[in-house]
Amino acid sequence: MAPLLQIKNLRTEFVTQDGIVHAVNGVSFDLGEGETLGVVGESGCGKSVSMLSLMRLIPQPPGRITEGEVLFQGQDLLHVSEEAIRRVRGNKIAMIFQDPMTSLNPVITVDKQIAEMVLLHNDVTEQQALERAEEMLELVGIKRERAKDYPHQFSGGMKQRVVIAIALACNPTLLIADEPTTALDVTIQAQVLELMHELRRKINTSLIMITHDLGIVAEMCDKVAIMYAGKVVEYAPTEALFTHPGHPYTEGLFNSIPDLDSDEEELKVIQGLMPDPTNLPSGCTFHPRCPYAVEACSKDVPPMVEIEPGHFVACPVRGKPYLHLGK
């Protein structure tokens, strides 16, 4: 069976005064029905832009998608009409943005904001849409009585619940959550993650979770894609990635997080900085910072190699099949 979503060699760039910013540089991955994929990387690695590209939400100009295919239920979203993509957006693919404070309209009551989505994609009366909105609020753990409240009357965690209610109002097949809990405190984050877990069991949507927090990935995701400088450098089932990461960058990410269970004095850091996206290094974009780099790394772009079933690594030096399982 074909996967629900297939992204092949997606490239997005932005034309700026300082040159062309290569934000997404050939991203490929698959997502099966009901699966959860974590997309992890630091600011500027292209994780959000690749998601916006697949929804065709990149402002053009200055942005442009230069290459690639986004097959969603067999349909290439990059080449359908504007009208067709609008039927997909919000309806079949919904998105949750990072900041619940800015993604809600401050002058409209929350039930109307949910109903707006329902009315747009379904043949229902306004009354029915508002009824559905109240159901959705209940689903995300907000009492019906609060339906006529405005966003400012809710706390951060509650607002994010409203945003989730909007995203799920049309029963999307795919939900993209862009750092859904980054703006929230840790106990509130725990509430929201718990809610998302529960809802996924109930509704069975597929989920792409963009995050920089590997802890959230360990908890929520079946598969992980690690992005660096606009590319997926490692793509693996969560267990494989956490037990034997293949790419040196993934390894560096893990080493940068202080471990709660041990007492390391010093963190093993990745030297240097993210490369300038207008002027990416040749060959493997990570090679200037990589402790394992050999001469060939600065020349050839490393292909993704499957080092074990489902575990892909774009590193010819470290990403050898089962190279460091004994570690």
């Binding site: 630091e42 405190d185 840790v186 509130i188 920089h212 956490f242 893990f254 940068s256 709660l260």
Partner: protein, 326 residues
């Protein structure tokens, strides 16, 4: 060696803000001590008063009540002139390296500012030598001397903030969420820098953060705040191995661990943090506490020393509140 005499002694410190709806109790009677050369971590969620506490401690905000003693002298009673001298010894590094630096000053001007204000050096040559030395200390390449903040990434900007705070050779530095705006890899670089600076120069830190794994990594002791009060204060190990306050337990259990298949029993708290405006009598946490009893509503629990060095503000710590299962 255990020092008997603490460097900083904070007693019943309070900071209230007047609002339209009543008094906001941002910091509500906190007491603790800090030893020379140690790092005290201050954790809590947004609005718990941790940043306000950091600022009141060094008189960037005026306290409503209480004492802050540095080597037995209450700096809250200092005259402005005396305080100005004191300010050379206490410094702060702010959270957001994007907004805490003047965009129109170059790197060398930014680092020179504290030196100029305090007239430390009479000649420009001496001053420039010090600036270059500070840039080396914090790991900024000297070629960046004439760069402006907008040309630099967050990690480098934070290094400027640190260099500024070190310029006057302080004894005591408040680090207010110094790595929260940074990506994990850069965050790790800055944490290592702060660590090695402390080793080299013997600084005393107060490290304020909402990120528990970061706080654990840098701190010797940790104070957990909730709604203006310290609910638990302990050495970092005991706090993580066996948290005593129900809030600390919930907070620790809420951290998603970056490990596969290692799930702990998560305590999901009900509701949100209540308003700090005119808080009622009783335990601040009782509305969300799974172990609350009638007395929690009536009597505010004091921060008491349950075991040597382990303070907790809960009527029922160890009595009703079970030890967490790992």
């Amino acid at each position: 060696m255990e020092q008997t005499h603490p460097m900083v002694e904070v007693t019943n410190l309070k900071k209230y803000f007047k609002t339209k709806r009543g008094m906001l109790h941002a910091v509500d009677g906190v007491s603790f001590t800090i030893r020379k050369g140690e790092t005290l971590g201050l954790v809590g969620e947004s609005g718990c008063g941790k940043s306000t506490l950091g600022r009141v401690m060094i008189r960037l905000l005026d306290a409503t009540g209480g004492e802050v003693k540095f080597w037995d002298e209450d700096i809250l009673t200092y005259s402005p002139r005396k305080m100005k001298d004191m300010r050379r010894k206490v410094q702060i590094v702010f959270q957001d390296p994007y907004s805490s630096l003047n965009p129109r000053l170059s790197v060398s001007e930014l680092i020179a500012e504290p030196l100029l204000v305090n007239r430390v050096y009479s000649s420009a040559a001496e001053r420039n030598r010090k600036i270059a030395e500070l840039m080396d200390t914090v790991g900024l390449a000297r070629r960046l001397m004439n760069a402006y903040p907008h040309e630099l990434d967050g990690g480098r900007r934070q290094r400027i903030g640190i260099a500024r705070s070190l310029a006057l050779s302080p004894e005591f530095i408040v680090l207010d969420e110094p790595v929260s705006a940074l990506d994990v890899c850069i965050q790790a670089q800055i944490l290592n820098l702060l660590n090695s600076l402390q080793k080299q120069f013997g600084y005393t830190y107060v490290f304020i953060s909402h990120n528990l794994s970061v706080v654990k990594h840098v701190s010797d002791r940790i104070a957990v705040m909730y709604l203006g009060k310290i609910v638990e204060l302990s050495d970092y190990k005991s706090l993580f191995v066996e948290p005593l306050h129900p809030y600390t337990q919930a907070l620790l259990s809420a951290i998603p661990l970056p490990k596969f298949g290692k799930k702990r029993d998560r305590i999901i708290l009900e509701g949100d943090v209540p308003s700090p405006i005119e808080p009622p009598e009783g335990c601040r946490f009782q509305g969300r506490c799974p172990y609350r009893q009638d007395v929690c509503k009536e009597k505010t629990p004091e921060l008491r020393e349950l075991e040597p060095g382990r303070f907790v503000a809960c009527h029922f710590a160890r009595a009703l509140v079970p030890a967490p299962r790992k």
